[in-house]
């Protein structure tokens, strides 16, 4: 009978189930400590919120063989340099706005969400905003009144979500900050807006 064969026995697999589950979980916990440490804002992969005081670009890195965000010269958002605390508060307000307005059920952020509207990971750097001089204002105006701005041949529009001006500015700050996160080259082959003087 099969129960006599050790590798087909119930007890062998019960022990395996317990040990494999426990082992995998311990490895996951160990990796989680390291990952959480690496993705805490202020590190190399996920920059401090005050990154919004600087120009953020997305350039090809020969060594890593994909595009990476680069935090460059000072270029404060809306022309006002913020302290780390002020920047964190503004980005947080923007993040809360994206959650309260349910952005993720049309858009993707870092590639996660719904697929009815463009990915927002690098929206700050999108060439569609025209020039970098008008970008901030364009984004604020669009967020506050998107419903009449047909911007594609499909007739798909963004609804008016009642976003106030402070919320729109905070959302832009959040989007600018998000574009500075090192996403291992996602999205690939992205052609950013021209930001050279």
């Amino acid at each position: 009978m099969s129960q006599d064969i050790w590798w087909a026995s119930e007890s062998f697999w019960r022990k395996n189930a317990i040990w494999i589950t426990a082992g995998s979980f311990i490895v996951l916990i160990f990796l989680t400590f390291d990952t959480v440490d690496q993705i805490t804002a202020g590190g190399k992969r996920v920059p401090a919120y005050s990154a919004i005081n600087h120009r953020i670009s997305y350039v090809f890195d020969e060594k890593r063989n994909f595009q990476v965000p680069v935090i460059g010269v000072e270029e404060p958002l809306f022309g006002k340099k913020l302290t780390e605390q002020e920047a964190a508060a503004l980005v947080s307000h923007g993040k809360l706005t994206t959650q309260a307005k349910n952005c993720m059920n049309c858009h993707t952020l870092l590639g996660n969400g719904a697929y009815y509207a463009p990915d927002l990971t690098k929206s700050w750097l999108d060439p569609s905003w025209g020039s970098k001089e008008v970008r901030e204002q364009q984004m604020v105006e669009f967020l506050m009144n998107p419903q009449d701005r047909l911007h594609n041949g499909l007739g798909r529009r963004m609804p008016n979500l009642g976003i106030t001006e402070p919320e729109a500015r905070a959302t832009v700050a959040f989007l600018k900050w998000m574009s500075s996160i090192d996403t291992n080259g996602f999205p690939a082959n992205f052609k950013p807006i021209d930001q050279e003087n």
Binding site: E10, W13, T35, V36, T40, N105
Partner: protein
Amino acid sequence: MTALGKLDRANLNGGQKLAVKYFTVAIALFGAQILFGLLAGLQYLYPDFLFGILDFSVNRMVHINAMVVWLLFGFLGSVYWLLEDESGVPVVGLGLGNLAFWIFTLAVVVVVLVYLLVQTGVGEQSSIWLINEGREYIEAPRWADIGIVVCVLVFFYNAAATFAKGRYTGIGGVLVLDLIALAGIYLAGMYYTPNISMDQHWWWWVIHLWVEATWEVLVGCLMAYGLIKTLGVRRKIVETWLYIEVALMFGSGILGLGHHYFWIGTPEYWFTIGGFFSALEPIPLVAMVVHAVFDAGHHKLKSTNNPALAWIIAQAFGNFFGAGVWGFMHTLPQINLYTHGTQWTASHGHFAFFGAYVTMVIAYFYLAIQKWRGGVYMSGNLIGAWKWKWALALLHIGMLMMTMAMLISGYEQSQIERAIEGSSWVGYFTAQAHPWFVQGMQWRQIGGWIFAAGFVLLAWDLMTIGRKETRPVRSLTE
């Protein structure tokens, strides 16, 4: 004892009486899921449809939330269904379990009404607590999260205390340990941070460790019990298989979490870990196919409940193809870079949730209706068998059509939007306007209508199957 074929709650034990309540709400929410999916699908084809009234974001949110909740209701119901039978004693704390059911149901109704009527809030913490958390799949506001945790804890108490008082079978042991993980992991999602990388890191703990680990083990338990009930498979065999499945499922699925950590700011070592372990994730699903098909063949397909067995077999294959093959297709980072966040994901999501979970819950609906009608005959030559067969066929044809259509749209998107245009705004809309994409969305909608027809037939069948039957359930020793 009432006549055979008549619905009578006296035919059910305590846990089962509660189970059929969960099942009833589950079916209603399944209908809601399909309805809002159809609305969202139509908006891809007619963007002005319900614009400004029920926007895509609202329809899509209700679509996916109804799914999570109805499957959860289906699972809770299924566990209550088998609890007394497995443990050999009445459910401990059943009154509390009933109360939790009503609280849970009421909370779901309030949450959905707020989704539909209030929709969005201001950019403050209060919106997250009261209206909508704005995080895919776990949009439920924080107050509802707390309610869900309380209800799941009551459910866990019912299950654990009942098994502890009666007997702990292999199925019972795995189930209780799995429920601890399932409830604990949900807590990882109840958290706000302005840091989107950190947010998504923990968000995936809930989403992935639910659907690709703990839910899979839960359906493994349900399949084990289902095979014992429908085919009379020996307990030793199903429980050995269950342990094999748990070992392989958790062995691949826990670290398989890494395939969600490629592009959200998390370190590069997840490429290797996530790619390797998620590539192993189909293996336990192969084991489940072998297990179910072998047992069914071994017992010459002689079952006590043909519709339930058919849905269990459908689960084995659907889980393997939908979750296993469709997941594997784009799980390695080298391809995922181009498919992440396109209709590939939607194709996989639809097929996997249907194949792995919807099928198993439907199997339990059929087990339940059989006993509720006093243990009627539901084997070969069933009166009106065309209904369950056509419901199964239409639901599968509709789902496969949706899956294939979205996959083709996804191919086009990954090429044009991702690879060539680099995911810019213009690249996105160029891809969305391409005829191959648009045709995919049209076929998806047709698939959706067929699926909806299958649902109507399924609901009708569940209300009528066995009603005119006078033969008792086939004995397993025949």
